[in-house]
């Protein structure tokens, strides 16, 4: 499950939810909470994207509570699709076909890093992190492009 929140108080909300480590996150960097329940990607100064464990049904309530009285919006973005792949199989393929937006670099992309890129003109966000023991790359794209991206990656 992916959740997004953004706004002037975005960092304050992130810190309320996930604690002090979040404030050290650089933009387009991420961290996974010690209990492996959440992966937190910082997209801008006050913009965050959260991956939650499938079984965490309470997160929406926690998020709503943290956002109360704050200048942020939060949502599950219905227009956003996601695909996940093991890093070792997908990164070599991505290096062949994806063009990162300068000055981002795809080569040697470390864990807990993300970047905006395009595959044949189609926009993606590429995010590498360790999720419940698996080193994976999650690709975010427009829901309408999900099949096309999947085809490009030759993974169904």
């Amino acid at each position: 499950m992916l959740w997004d929140f953004a706004g002037v108080d975005g960092l304050a909300v992130a810190m309320a939810l996930f604690g002090e480590p979040v404030k050290k996150l650089a933009v387009w960097r991420s961290l996974v909470t010690p209990d492996s329940c959440y992966a937190i990607l910082r997209l801008c100064e006050g913009n965050f994207r959260i991956r939650t464990a499938e079984q965490d049904h309470n997160f929406s309530e926690k998020l709503a509570q943290a956002c109360t009285g704050k200048r942020v919006w939060y949502a599950q973005l219905t227009y956003l699709g996601a695909l996940s792949f093991p890093s070792h199989t997908i990164l070599p393929r991505l290096e062949q076909i994806a063009t990162p937006k300068p000055p981002f670099r795809l080569h040697n992309l470390p864990l807990d890093c993300a970047l905006p890129a395009r595959i044949d003109g189609t926009a993606i966000v590429l995010w590498r992190y360790l999720w419940q023991g698996t080193d994976l790359v999650q690709i975010h794209c427009a829901q309408r492009d999900r099949q096309k991206i999947s085809d490009y990656l030759q993974v169904k």
């Binding site: 002037v8 108080d9 960092l11 304050a12 810190m15 404030k23 050290k24 996150l25 650089a26 933009v27 387009w28 960097r29 910082r42 100064e45 006050g46 200048r71 300068p102 000055p103 981002f104 670099r105 040697n108 992309l109 470390p110 890093c113």
Partner: protein, 607 residues
């Protein structure tokens, strides 16, 4: 490392002079370079480009502005001109003028008609004529990139034009990103300042891709000095391996931030571990001769009487009315032998002028090309440096004994360095001055030894946060030549007890009654303040000051700012309001405090 301007004698594939008041069309292949030269100066040249394989794809200035986030593309990361299909058509590779227009149409018949000149030639009509043979339909006005056209958009929305900034021989060098049909004009406008009321010719040259011209922007250290192109420092080749995000600063390419790190990561590396920063863009001058002390004692704010060899002092160079010419550090290298490290190349001319006026025997040698510098900053900087630095025996000192604002010479694996216990971050740290020939090797040694201590490179964006937190000044933000040290927050650097000090009487008055005072502000919300935002008295309609620098402070967990306020509002603890949006709709309360919320006692830098 210096980059040469393209000589006018360099053979080109194609070389064409556009007669005044005319325009031409020409084709260019992908990878080729287009040099557009203002031959006599102050002459505008409007530019169009079309994809040669489909002439309906054309250069679009609105797309270009939007995709770059800039009014006009700038050499570097945001240097491409895009088409109406969002594809790059050309990229600016070199620019010796730096002032162009992307907002207005190429001049039109309508403009001249309504100004009382029906029948006057226009760039748009000239383009129509030049493009007709390619089957391109005429237009009343062409949306062009207007090189050398000096326009500005003001806060109230007006777009105004003035005389061109370009000088004789100034040029823009573009590289075609695909096969193109281009059109260039020599603008016929002689009824307003755009071409200095005197249309002249424009020269266009096409060069082969094999030239591989480096990216560069012209820099003129003084108004009449020849243009010099942006240069790499001794460390830039190492830095380019780690980032593509470089910007021009003071004539050098410097990193904004690093790939796979980012501002916050670099900032926290500074505060918790150690970082390397390339500060080679600083200017260095050796000041020697019988009256070297007299000159600096007069022109520099600090009292240098007790400055011994191996000691340095931060202060500022002042002008006749007590304004700050530059801030920097004076190093005492020996009797009547000093080194000044600051920001501006003009410092040399100012010091020479003062020496001449006083008939002082002084030699001021500009040595910036011979001495580049790296800052190694952070709590682990000392332990990293201890692994590799051998201080020369004559100093009879160890690195741990090297105090704040002390320096020594030594070697790092046989590389001669001057190590100075100074910095611009608010952290324990050192600056290493080195012959550029050793730059890459020094970078490699330090990064290798620093790896186990978590050493990372740091760019200008993270440095900006750190220096604001530490209450350190930036030229053009906290001071300029109209701002005295008492207004800029460095009144403590002025020694009024000195017998000889430039503008002493004025400074005495300014000390008693400074028109404004620099303070630190901590804001009560998460809105981040910016340079020039207004500061109001609490609940009042009138302003009491202005923000000079603002950032989100990771250390304070709050937005902070440096601001210059009327003295009555500068007392610590005073509540003021910072204006956001239009300066009025949202007022964010802020509390006046010390300039340096990070380590206000400077215990870390002294530690």
């Amino acid at each position: 490392m210096a980059v040469a301007l393209i000589p006018s004698s360099l053979p080109a594939l194609w070389d064409c002079t556009i007669a005044p008041r005319t325009a031409i069309a020409y084709t260019v292949r992908a990878g080729q370079y287009i040099q557009i030269i203002d031959v006599e100066g102050q002459q505008c040249s409007d530019f169009l480009a079309f994809a040669l394989d489909d002439l309906t794809e054309e250069l679009d200035s609105t797309v270009t502005r939007t995709l770059n986030g800039l009014a006009v593309p700038r050499v570097g990361l945001h240097g491409k001109y895009f088409s109406n299909r969002f594809r790059p058509l050309v990229e600016v590779i070199q620019d010796t003028c730096g002032r162009h227009d992307s907002f207005l149409l190429a001049c039109t018949a309508k403009y001249y008609e309504e100004a009382g000149y029906p029948g006057h030639p226009s760039c748009s009509e000239n383009f129509n004529l030049a493009l007709a043979k390619y089957g391109i339909a005429p237009r009343k006005g062409w949306s062009a990139i207007n090189f050398f056209f000096n326009t500005t958009a003001s806060d109230d929305g007006r777009v105004t034009a003035g005389e061109s900034w370009s000088r004789a021989g100034d040029y823009v060098l573009l590289q075609a990103k695909q096969d193109l049909l281009c059109a260039s004009s020599a603008c016929p406008d002689d009824i307003d300042p755009a071409n200095g009321w005197r249309p002249t010719e424009i020269r266009v040259r096409i060069f082969a891709p094999e030239h591989n011209f480096p990216k560069a922007i012209a820099y003129r250290p003084t108004p009449h000095a020849p243009a010099r192109l942006t240069q790499d420092s001794a460390f830039t080749s190492s830095i380019r391996q780690l980032t593509d995000d470089l910007v021009e600063y003071n004539g050098f390419w410097v990193p904004n931030s690093f790939a796979h790190l980012g501002v916050q990561a670099e900032y926290w590396a500074l505060r918790e571990r150690a970082v390397l920063i390339d500060l080679s863009a600083l200017r260095k001058f050796d000041i020697t001769g019988k009256n070297a002390f007299d000159l600096l004692q007069y022109a520099f704010s600090r009292d240098l009487t007790k400055l011994g060899v191996g000691q340095s002092a931060y202060g500022c160079l002042l002008n006749y009315h007590g304004g700050i010419v530059d801030d920097g550090i004076v190093f005492c290298l020996g009797a009547n032998t000093y080194r000044y490290v600051g920001n501006c190349e003009q410092d040399q001319h100012w010091l020479e002028q003062l020496a001449q006026e006083h008939h002082w025997q002084v030699t001021i040698e500009h040595i910036s090309d011979r001495l580049h510098n790296l800052a190694l900053q952070g709590p682990r900087s000392r332990i990293i440096l201890e692994q590799v630095l051998a201080i020369d025996p004559q100093w009879q000192i160890s690195l741990s004994e090297l105090g704040y604002f002390r320096f020594a010479t030594g070697t790092i694996k046989r590389i001669p360095v001057l190590v100075s216990r100074t910095g611009y971050t608010g952290e324990l740290g050192y600056e290493l001055f080195v012959d550029p020939a050793y730059g890459a090797e020094l970078w490699q040694i330090l990064t290798a030894v620093g790896e186990k201590y978590g050493l990372t490179p740091m760019g200008m964006l993270a440095l900006e946060r750190a220096r604001i937190e530490a209450g350190l000044l930036s030229a053009g933000r906290e001071f300029d030549d109209l701002t005295s040290p008492y207004e800029a927050g460095i009144g403590w650097t002025v020694s009024l007890k000195k017998e000889q000090l430039i503008a002493k009487d004025t400074l005495l008055k300014l000390k008693e009654h400074p028109p404004k005072v620099t303070v630190g502000l901590v804001l009560d919300s998460n809105d981040i303040p910016c340079h020039c935002q207004p500061v109001y008295a609490l609940g009042k309609a009138w302003r009491v000051g202005v923000i000079t620098s603002g950032t989100f402070s990771p250390y304070c967990d709050r937005p902070i700012a440096l601001a210059q306020l009327k003295p009555a509002y500068a007392t610590p603890g005073t509540k003021v309001e910072v204006g956001f949006i239009d300066g009025k709709q949202r007022r964010i309360p802020a509390t006046v405090g010390v300039m340096s919320p990070y380590d206000p006692e400077k215990l870390k830098v002294r530690g």
